[in-house]
């Protein structure tokens, strides 16, 4: 009888996940999902070279950005998904919630009032996540570089991976940015990736090293 009772309780515990309180839910996730992944057979299976390669291939071919427009560059963002520049060929599908996204596409000046929202959106995204700064307003403030209310660059708020200059950027340029991001994800195993000028920089997401008191993306010589 006691065994049957326990079994029923366990069954109920699994079925009533939605009815849990948040603390209890986190406990349940840590026990039933995270633990077998961190230690055990699943961990070994995922660390396998072949599986990692497959996961990398899947990640770089399905970059789902957040469908979120700040200012005028969002018009170009819309233009990339139209039939002429059909960006869904490259696996870029716009999603309307940060919980289904891999890429945070920032298109426009980030005001100090918007900054907490950007940080919150970044936190809400699941972990393999990248950030694209689109247009000069996002890169460094642009024409509002001496304004009192605009953040001087998205990289001061959240670690940014791709910078696309232009005012506004062309749809081709945005697609080129997405392709560059997929290139970066591809060379994650190597550890570094070379820029347009031929400088080698880190390929890890949002990786910023600190040299000479300045925050840069440069790879230390030990890692090369």
């Amino acid at each position: 009888m006691s065994n049957e009772k326990e079994r029923i309780e366990q069954k109920n515990a699994i079925t009533n996940i939605a009815g849990f309180e948040s603390d209890k839910f986190i406990e349940w996730v840590a026990k039933n999902i995270e633990k077998p992944f961190k230690e055990g057979r699943a961990r070994r299976l995922i660390n396998n070279n072949l599986v990692q390669g497959f996961l990398n291939w899947a990640r770089r071919n399905s970059l789902w950005p957040l469908h979120w427009g700040i200012m005028c560059c969002s018009i170009e963002m819309a233009a990339t998904s139209d039939p002429r520049y059909d960006v869904e060929r490259l696996g870029v599908i716009y999603r309307s919630t940060p919980r289904q996204c891999d890429v945070l596409l920032l298109n426009g000046p980030i005001s100090y009032k918007l900054r907490p929202t950007v940080m919150r959106l970044y936190d809400q995204m699941p972990d393999p996540k990248w950030v694209i700064a689109m247009g000069e307003c996002t890169i460094c403030g642009g024409p509002y570089y001496d304004s009192y209310s605009i953040v001087k660059g998205s990289y001061t708020v959240i670690p940014t991976d791709i910078f696309i200059p232009g005012c506004p950027v062309r749809p081709e340029a945005l697609m080129y940015g997405f392709l560059k991001l997929s290139q970066k994800i591809k060379s994650e195993k190597k550890g570094f990736v070379s820029t347009r000028k031929g400088r080698k920089v880190s390929a890890f997401k949002g990786h910023m090293a600190q040299f000479k008191g300045e925050v840069t993306y440069e790879v230390p010589e030990e890692l090369r």
Binding site: D86, Y145, I164, M175, K197, R199
Partner: protein
């Protein structure tokens, strides 16, 4: 193309609009048949697909598109007019040491640079650039050009700063034609009594349009030298005004070299050649030392009032 029955709410039974599954399938099928290579010639309304496949084929951009900057080092004289005009202040000038017989050292340069054997060439922070094209528009020597290259995405912020040698146009592509044209419209004017005769404007002028002459004022029984401007050569780069320690120079619109193109349209709709207004303006000037040439003006009308 909504079916009427789906909006019929008289009956209690829930009805799905007709054709939610079949009709979209049919439309996509139609499009595929219309755009397949061989069949589209036989089917009425057949056409090529609209999509262009970006990484494999590239769209030819129009010629006036402003992408990557490129600067002709043979033409540029280092007047820093582009840096003054830039609304974002993203153009910086770099001084480069040159050898004695370098082809970039031309006669039309500032005397200061000839002495030091150096040239000044612009560098651009592309991550800050507005791509408005003001630098190319105001350039007096046509050294600025924009390429049709729009793919400038990069991994870091530092790499978006392009140094002067990275923006250099290849030597084979430049036609090395020397042009000087005042697109600013303003020209420097001297206040003679304030001038101290330090010759700094003469040394800094990139075109060599300044020649020093004896002024009316005396210092220790000797005349103070004052600059005399050759307005046919001057490009209005304000370099002399910036350098002047006594603030005796200021910029003012005097005349155009050829005014035949310009018209002045007032609110009544009457059009006047701008040429007609120039002589009036010249006669009103009192501060100018050397009056500009008025040879090109044809038969000025009598001044009214």
């Amino acid at each position: 193309m909504k079916s009427q029955k789906s909006y019929d709410r008289t009956s209690n039974r829930k009805k799905r609009p007709r054709g939610t599954v079949v009709r979209p399938l049919l439309t996509t099928l139609k499009q595929t048949v219309k755009t397949t290579p061989i069949i589209r010639r036989l089917v009425p309304g057949g056409r090529k697909p609209v999509t262009f496949l970006y990484p494999y084929e590239k769209l030819e951009l129009f010629k006036s598109y402003r992408g990557q900057h490129s600067i002709d080092w043979f033409k540029c004289i280092g007047c820093e007019l582009c840096a003054k005009v830039c609304p974002n202040e993203c153009i910086y000038f770099e001084t480069i040491k040159m050898e004695e017989n370098s082809p970039y050292l031309l006669s039309k340069r500032s005397k200061m640079d000839t002495i030091k054997k150096q040239i000044k060439r612009p560098a651009v922070d592309v991550g800050h650039c507005l791509f408005c094209g003001d630098c190319a528009e105001y350039c007096p020597t046509d050294a600025w050009t924009f390429l049709q290259e729009c793919e400038l995405a990069d991994y870091t912020r530092e790499d978006l700063f392009y140094h002067s040698d990275e923006l250099k146009k290849p030597d084979e592509l430049s036609d090395r034609k020397q042009v000087l044209y005042n697109r600013q419209g303003d020209e420097p004017i001297l206040d003679v009594d304030a001038c101290i005769g330090c010759l700094r404007c003469d040394r800094e002028c990139p075109t060599g349009c300044i020649s020093m002459t004896n002024g009316p004022n005396l210092r220790k029984d000797k005349p103070i030298p004052i600059p005399e401007f050759n307005y046919t050569v001057c490009i209005g780069c304000q370099q002399c005004v910036d350098v002047c320690p006594a603030n005796c120079l200021h910029m003012e619109e005097i005349h155009y070299e050829t005014t035949e193109i310009f018209y002045n349209v007032n609110f009544r709709g009457e059009t006047h050649l701008l040429e007609d207004w120039v002589p009036k303006k010249v006669t009103n000037l009192k501060m100018s030392v050397s009056t500009p040439k008025t040879d090109s003006v044809k038969t000025p009308p009598p001044p009214t009032a």
